[in-house]
């Protein structure tokens, strides 16, 4: 396998976009390619994520993006892995570049749902669950994670304030991120006063519906002669699956696909959790950040919420988690989210994360979950 680098990255601000996912995807792709010091014609394959493209009456958007970049002859494919679609794209790009099938590849994720009302957007999200066995039985996306939160809070001693501390931390980070959907801090009073969406999840436990687009360019080390930015060496690119349905999971206290993908990734990278400097994890709900940190092996089961309340995962803490603000506050434009996590790591390593810098940036991990854990990607990066 060839050593593979992330050499360029770009993102829109998350929130409400007036332009289409196709336009935003094309724009951030061009920016990421230029950021890498490359020309579009050097891209060998484009991997596109646009899970809910049908909400804009558009499928097969890859060739349209490549047309817009002036490279219509370059192959493209659209991948769907729910909320982990663009990290699945990154994995495919890694496989192509590391395996010698392309010297450079583009990964772009984009989503636009803000033109829909809350009910329609909730319904789009819920079709990523098992439609006949979960959605038709009353589940919504927050409802499924709320069920996991219910089991977790029944098993371990936690307080609402511990979960609130995660929301407060991620909002504080997002307030310093120009890409973030929410750019305001919140207080514990605001958190506790926010309405229940699906008990025990309050409004401020939940990520927003965001529009947005993010792109990264990966290339083989041997073809990048003069990187224009400090590259991220892809030390591991791992994915795993797991039983999707809540009713087929014997264990509701974590996500088995995270545990599997993490084990593979740490083995590939020949690293251990204690060697990772900072993380971007999949916190679509505060309970998801707690389970991620435990399933990835950073904290023993039942303790991550307390660690957050004690400041361990703050930007200046021992293990900074989601310096971008995470899905919770940076926002969650479904198909852009996985690529967006890598944009944050790239910006941190390149000194572009002004005002939200983490103290150490030698190694980083990105964790991205598809829906309630039917799929999961874990990527580990280091400096050269």
């Amino acid at each position: 396998m060839r050593e593979t680098w992330v050499v360029g990255a770009a993102s829109t601000r998350y929130g409400k976009m007036t332009e289409s996912a196709r336009e935003a995807a094309t724009r951030v792709s061009m920016e990421a390619i230029r950021d890498a010091g490359l020309e579009p014609k050097q891209i060998g394959h484009t991997f596109v994520a646009n899970c809910f493209g049908l909400a804009e009456h558009q499928a097969h958007v890859g060739p349209l993006i490549n047309n817009g970049l002036g490279i219509p002859e370059v192959p493209s494919v659209t991948l769907e892995s729910a909320c982990s679609s663009s990290s699945a794209g990154l994995h495919e790009a890694f496989v192509h570049v590391a395996g010698g099938f392309a010297d450079a590849a583009l990964v772009v994720g984009a989503e636009r749902l803000s033109h829909l009302d809350t009910l329609a957007a909730t319904s789009y999200f819920s079709i990523a669950a098992d439609y006949p066995f979960e959605t038709k039985n009353g589940a919504t996306f927050p409802g499924l994670y709320a069920t996991l939160a219910s089991a977790y809070r029944n098993a371990f001693r936690t307080t609402p304030e511990m979960f609130g501390s995660i929301a407060i931390k991620n909002h504080a980070n997002a307030a310093r991120n120009p890409h973030a959907h929410f750019q305001k801090e919140i207080t514990m009073e605001t958190y506790l006063a926010s309405p229940m969406i699906a008990s025990p999840l309050r409004l401020y436990d939940c990520c927003p519906f965001s529009d947005g687009a993010a792109a990264v360019v990966v290339a083989a080390k041997e073809v990048v002669h003069r990187p224009t930015a400090e590259p991220l060496v892809v030390r591991a690119s791992a994915r795993a699956g797991a039983v999707t349905d809540m009713q087929d999971r014997p264990d509701l206290l974590g996500l088995p696909s995270t545990r599997l993908a993490a084990a593979k990734a740490f083995r590939q990278a020949r690293l251990e959790p204690k060697q990772i400097d900072f993380l971007e994890v999949h916190d679509c709900f505060t309970i998801a950040e707690v389970m991620a940190l435990e399933d990835l092996g950073f904290f023993p089961q039942g303790t991550a919420a307390k660690e957050s309340a004690e400041g361990t995962t703050a930007r200046d803490g021992k293990l900074p988690v989601n310096p971008s603000g995470g899905l919770k506050a940076k926002g969650h434009p479904v198909s852009a989210t996985g690529a967006g996590q890598v944009v944050e790591i790239f910006e941190q390593v390149n000194g572009r994360a002004k005002g939200r810098e983490v103290p150490r940036t030698e190694t980083a991990l990105a964790h991205n979950v598809g829906a309630t854990g039917g799929s999961c990607s874990v990527h580990i990066f280091s400096r050269r």
Partner: protein, 135 residues
């Protein structure tokens, strides 16, 4: 070639017909590892063996996790708030469903006995068992 001759439930529609018109919870049991599931498939999600036999699930069980939803999806627009529940059935099998009568967290608790009730609309619907009807 997958040997699914032991399986009588060939379609998801068979499961849904169970909830809607036959008033029964259908399931599979793996002849190899004994896993009981209420989800359609051709092979066992635990051991991978394609030897699933039809299994009649109990209509009674206990709540292992639940949420009360204030913001419903399209199909349940006029029913919120309601509970979405994970239930471990007596005699094996775990099923998810909804409980229209549960309007607040205080109406239900983990461990509460419930029974499957054929609903006025699609989906697996549960109701609390009155104290006298507990096993």
């Amino acid at each position: 070639m997958v040997d699914d001759s032991a399986s009588a439930l060939h379609s998801i529609a068979d499961f849904v017909r169970g909830y809607e018109t036959d008033a029964r919870l259908r399931g599979f049991r793996c002849q190899n590892c004994s896993l009981v599931t209420a989800t359609w498939g051709l092979a066992c999600s635990r051991c991978g063996e394609p030897k699933l036999e039809e299994f009649a699930l109990s209509d009674r069980g206990r709540v292992v996790a639940f949420t009360v939803l204030s913001v419903p999806g399209e199909e349940f627009l006029n029913d919120a708030p309601y509970a979405y529940v994970v239930v471990d059935l007596d005699g094996g099998g775990r099923v998810t469903g909804w409980m229209p009568a549960v309007k607040a967290d205080s109406d239900l608790s983990i461990g509460a006995p419930v029974r499957f009730v054929p609903g006025y609309k699609p989906g697996v619907q549960f109701a609390k068992l009155p104290p006298g009807e507990e096993r």
